[in-house]
């Protein structure tokens, strides 16, 4: 036993050394990569290259977060194989729990992280092995930005971020040496609308339930986040003030659902939608003119040549409004060890090296380490997507289609403006089952 442990320690230290040297190389390589994208990291130690070339990492999760193009690039850069597998949120967490051996890197939201940690299927991510840890925005690592606390309604990434020991199954407050998941892509969601028909700038959630758009508005039908959009709208209209929109009491759930049922009976909602494509179709076909929406869906509507604006819903002085934030990150499954674990750390660090940040920015998402992402974007792109500046030239999506003309400004302004205005985070509530039941009552009303 002791012998085996010693052996493992030895292997660990050897690997750590190679890893460190490789990481330096990676950094050096990163700059070269921008120009010669796709080339292997030049000069990686041959021994390491031999050892890792048979490794395969399986990164499993939702399609908007686990993207094949990113996996392909990582495989090229790192010299081992990364396979991306897409499942929807519920199928993914079910697989992590029931077949943990078939996954190496799980894609996790806050609530999934909470479940996964409690079930003991993850191992902690060692903070000191994440090279860019200090450059991760404090929104995630400390739950604050420029001294201002980030909203804790719902499950903020910070809330599910740390455990005390590598194998701990309890999430704790405060900054610790072990992380549960590493944020990799996130955004702030709001309302999409047709400016040509709505006729005035929308900056309040209450417009979603304004009788003016009777029969022409739609809401998101994923119960645990749809109800938060509804809550934001009701709070905005002045119906009630929630203590925590991300963890409502039964009474708050009742008030919200009853209001939704009343609205439905008045014919407010033309439809509800569950997939990205449905929301695009609803807006593009003219069925609805205002609806809760996701950023790339707005981009997709624009790409069809139909005007569509992603409403900036900055928090008001009275505490109303604000965005619904979400964040997906990467975990390490507990079964990872030895070289495969080394490779997994390489992969996590690669995410923060910037290529991925540049890629996701082009469809409106963000990297938690903007500093490195900036290197993989043109000044024009960075200005448009992150700083909220008018585009100096045509803006293209990750696949090369033009989505904004010179002079256009991103809706909602700069990245910082969006993220300091988060009202609540995607979540699963304590009263989840009751809420889902009542949500279905709204659906069948």
């Amino acid at each position: 036993m002791a012998q085996r442990r010693k052996k493992r320690a030895r292997i660990g230290s050897v690997d750590a050394n190679t890893a460190i040297s490789r990481r330096n190389l990676l950094r050096a390589g990163a700059a070269a990569l921008g120009a010669a994208a796709g080339s292997q990291v030049i000069g990686a130690p041959t021994i390491w290259a031999q050892e890792i070339k048979d490794i395969e990492l399986r990164h499993v999760g939702v399609s908007y977060s686990v993207v094949k193009a990113i996996g392909d690039q990582a495989s090229k850069d790192l010299g081992f194989k990364v396979t991306m597998q897409n499942l929807d949120t519920s199928a993914a967490i079910t697989r992590f729990i029931t077949q943990p051996q078939t996954v190496d890197i799980p894609d996790l939201e806050g609530w999934q992280t909470k479940v996964a940690v409690a079930r003991g299927i993850l191992q902690g991510i060692e903070v000191k092995r994440i090279k860019e840890f200090d450059n991760i925005l404090p929104i995630f690592t400390k739950g604050e930005y420029e001294g201002k606390k980030v909203s804790r309604q719902g499950i903020s990434p910070y809330e599910a971020m740390y455990i005390e020991k590598k194998d701990s199954t309890k999430i704790v407050e405060g900054v610790h040496d072990w992380m549960t998941f590493l944020p990799q892509v996130y955004n702030a969601d709001s309302i999409g609308y047709r400016p040509d028909i709505v006729g005035h700038p929308v900056t309040h959630w209450k417009d979603l339930i304004d009788p003016k758009y009777k029969g022409r508005s739609a809401i998101l039908d994923v119960p645990n986040i749809g109800i938060m959009d509804a809550a934001l709208a009701l709070e905005s209209r002045g119906d009630l003030v929630y203590k925590n929109k991300g963890n409502m009491t039964r009474q708050e759930i009742d008030t919200t659902i009853n209001a939704l049922i009343a609205l439905k009976k008045q014919g407010q909602f033309r439809a509800t939608w569950t997939t990205f494509e449905q929301s695009v179709e609803l807006m593009a076909s003219g069925e609805v003119v205002i609806q809760s929406m996701w950023s790339p869906a707005v981009t997709a509507v624009l790409a069809k040549g139909i005007p569509c604006i992603y409403a900036p819903v900055n928090e008001q002085p009275n505490g109303k409004e604000g965005y619904r934030g979400w964040c997906n990150g990467m975990g390490l499954m507990r079964h990872l060890s030895g070289k495969k674990l080394e490779a997994a750390y390489e992969y996590l660090n690669w995410y923060y090296a910037g290529w991925q940040g540049g890629f996701v920015a082009r469809h409106g998402y963000y990297s938690p380490v903007p500093k490195t992402a900036e290197k993989f974007m043109t000044a024009n792109e960075y200005g448009y997507w992150y700083l909220g500046k008018p585009a100096a030239d045509v803006i293209k999506d990750p696949y090369g289609a033009a989505i904004a003309k010179a002079g256009a400004v991103r809706d909602g302004g700069s990245f910082i403006e969006r993220f300091t205005n988060i009202a609540c985070w995607n979540t699963v509530m304590d009263e989840n089952q009751y809420m889902i039941q009542r949500w279905n009552e709204f659906k069948s009303a």
């Binding site: 079910t94 479940v115 119960p223 889902i436 039941q437 279905n440």
Partner: protein, 312 residues
């Protein structure tokens, strides 16, 4: 599967005499019939009985936000059965089933009748029958979604009516309504009525029509007193298909109602999406019991096995 169980029960007490007469003499060891059934039995055990047993077992488990705890508790059933929502969902789906059943029956019967009795050339009849299956060369989803551009606010029907001046405002009820759901069901499931009814009708002895005519019955009376009774087994089989398909549906309701209706299965899906497996399992078991009851009611009205056997 259910059908097989049903016939098994009935066969055991007194096997129909003609079956014994026509069956080839059984040779070899007495274990042979069992060996012959074994592969099917194995498949059913592994792919039907075992998963069902799991679902039933899980439906008695406890759960919280993080874990599912093995237990034996009726809590989930109590939750499901005391919820107002459950009754609403079942009523909705039974209503959809009834409407769909009615329309698919009328259309299915008419189409089969035309193919069997009005198309004289059997080759053309088979050809037309195959044409009925052409839509099945594309997926269910495509066939359903193809209604969207037709029924939408700016769809073909509304555009045509608006330009001809019949209406001034687009008709909203065409899409994202109960109407569009039923239209879609009828479109998707009529074939399941046509096939078994076509099958039963083809077996009808044509001389019966002459006999009926000789006995002075009108065409309408022949239809009612000769054709319909002889098609009973086909109608029953078609009804089983249509009713079970609608009761277990989740996607058509979701898309065609524009998410403004929930179905029994979509409520289960919402449970599963946040890991409330035991609650969903209890719901699934209840749905299964209700569907089995519906099917056995249909089989009670028509003894499919007897009908099929007597026609051979």
């Amino acid at each position: 599967m259910r059908h097989a169980g049903q016939s098994g029960e009935r066969a055991s007490p007194s096997p129909p005499p003609h079956r014994v007469r026509t069956a080839p003499p059984i040779s070899g060891s007495p274990a042979r019939p069992y060996l012959l059934v074994a592969p099917l039995l194995a498949v059913l055990l592994v792919f039907v009985v075992a998963p069902l047993a799991f679902v039933v077992a899980v439906s008695f488990f406890h759960y919280d936000n993080f874990a599912i705890i093995p237990a034996f508790s009726f809590e989930n059933y109590a939750d499901v059965l005391t919820a107002h929502l459950t009754y609403e969902l079942y009523l909705t789906m039974i209503w959809f089933s009834a409407l769909t059943w009615f329309f698919t029956l009328i259309i299915g019967f008419t189409v089969a009748y035309f193919l069997v009795f009005h198309v004289r050339n059997p080759l053309i009849a088979i050809g037309l029958f195959l044409v009925c299956t052409v839509p099945f060369w594309t997926s269910n989803v495509i066939r359903m979604i193809s209604w969207l551009p037709l029924l939408g606010k700016q769809g073909l029907i509304n555009n045509a009516l608006l330009t001809t001046g019949v209406i001034r405002q687009p008709l909203q009820f065409l899409l994202f309504s109960d109407f569009s759901v039923v239209v879609s069901y009828v479109h998707l499931f009529t074939i399941f009525m046509i096939v078994p009814i076509f099958n039963s009708m083809s077996r009808i002895d044509r001389t019966l029509f002459e006999a009926a005519a000789d006995a002075g019955s009108s065409r309408w009376q022949t239809l009612l007193y000769v054709v319909v009774p002889l098609c009973k087994s086909g109608i029953a089989l078609g009804s089983i298909f249509v009713v079970t398909l609608v009761m277990g549906d989740f996607y058509v309701v979701k898309v065609m109602s524009g998410g403004s209706r929930a179905s029994i299965v979509s409520a289960m899906y919402d449970d599963i999406s946040t890991l409330l497996f035991p609650h969903a399992a209890a719901n699934a078991v209840i749905l299964m019991i209700i569907v089995v009851i519906m099917v056995s009611l249909i089989l009670r009205v028509v003894d499919v096995r007897k009908e099929l056997a007597s026609q051979r």
